[in-house]
């Protein structure tokens, strides 16, 4: 009985894997260049329904539909930019993992640079001040020792 169950499980698993492979094969291009572009695009386009998955990874219906659309568009000789533009027109900037640079998003790049800059300035200032303080203190100490010796 147990063996029967195991055999059944293996059979079911096998068919599931086959099915998965079959869906992978569904989007096939004649040109290897387009194949590569398809993989690249489905990795960089974000599934609008799921929070953090690209459409290549997601099995949501919308992701499957988007994959099919990317396939259709590539078959129609759209280039990468055109496909991304097509998706952005419908799903907004959200759909592409690379955010556009605009007055709102510029801070994503500016803030880290500003932070590093501010930290550097801070370090330089404290170093300088500490240096001076230590020197005068040591001088006083040295003076004291000198005076004691005399």
């Amino acid at each position: 009985m147990n063996r029967l169950v195991t055999t059944l499980m293996i059979l079911i698993l096998g068919s599931v894997i086959n099915l998965a492979l079959a869906t992978e094969d569904k989007f096939h291009f004649d040109e290897p260049k387009k194949d590569a572009l398809f993989l690249e695009l489905t990795k960089e386009l974000r599934c609008p329904k799921c929070q953090n998955q690209n459409i290549a990874d997601s099995d949501a219906m919308i992701a499957v539909d988007l994959k099919r659309k990317v396939y259709d568009l590539l078959q129609k000789d759209y280039d990468k930019e055109q496909v991304i533009e097509y998706m952005k027109q419908r799903y907004g900037d959200f759909v592409y993992y690379q955010p556009p640079v605009n007055p709102m998003t510029i801070w994503l790049w500016l803030l880290p640079v500003l932070f590093v800059f501010a930290a550097l300035v801070g370090i330089v200032i404290t170093r300088k001040r500490q240096g001076v303080e230590m020197d005068s203190e040591q001088l006083a100490k040295a003076q004291e020792i000198l005076e004691r010796d005399e």
């Binding site: 569904k26 539909d65 907004g92």
Partner: protein
């Protein structure tokens, strides 16, 4: 005095961070600005769900303020939303359904139209029918052009056929009052 100011900087930064993160607790990551707002309805030619012979295009929305509700019988939240939509329809709102089927794979088409119609009839006779008519988005093309991410979603379309609102999720009294009513009342008053 200068020293106090120096100590206040990290405190200020910390408070700023706290406020930023606190706001994040209440923001809805699923909500993002639709890129179709203020745009005319995309072009389409699609059949009526119940009468496949009859087709509609984007001109069907001209002259009326319409709520275009994206739904399907497989969608649980849609079933929760239906009675409230029925109520809105009772108040005189023009509601059109955009129906799409989850199991209808454009490449395989494993479901017959008759079965989809039967399912819809069953569901609507059970929960009430708020729809003036249903557009059948057979291959989910219009949904894609509209930027639909799932169901339920609702669009408010003005008399000129322009999209004025896009709501992801169900419509309930709170959503209607806060999001739809102000725009809807303004449009109807025109």
């Amino acid at each position: 005095m200068k020293k106090i100011a120096l100590y206040l900087i990290p405190l200020g930064l910390f408070l700023g961070l706290i406020i930023f993160l606190y706001q994040g607790l209440f923001s809805n990551p699923r909500e993002h600005q639709s890129s179709l707002l203020e745009q005319p309805m995309p072009e389409f030619v699609l059949p009526d769900l119940m009468n496949i012979e009859q087709t509609y295009n984007e001109d069907v929305f001209l002259g009326k303020v319409t709520l275009l509700n994206v739904w399907g019988v497989w969608c649980i939240t849609c079933a929760i939303e239906l009675p409230y939509l029925k109520q809105l329809q009772g108040e005189g709102k023009h509601i059109v359904g955009l129906y799409f089927d989850q199991d209808m794979d454009p490449d395989f088409g494993i479901k017959t139209v008759a079965r989809v119609q039967q399912e819809v009839t069953d569901k609507l006779s059970q929960l009430g029918n708020p729809y003036a008519f249903n557009i059948f988005d057979v291959k989910r093309d219009l949904s894609m052009d509209l930027g639909v991410t799932g169901a339920p979603e609702t669009y408010l379309i003005d008399q000129q056929g322009k999209i004025r609102l896009h709501h992801i999720g169900d419509i309930n009294p709170r959503v209607w009052k806060n999001k739809f009513a102000p725009v809807y009342d303004l449009l109807v008053a025109q």
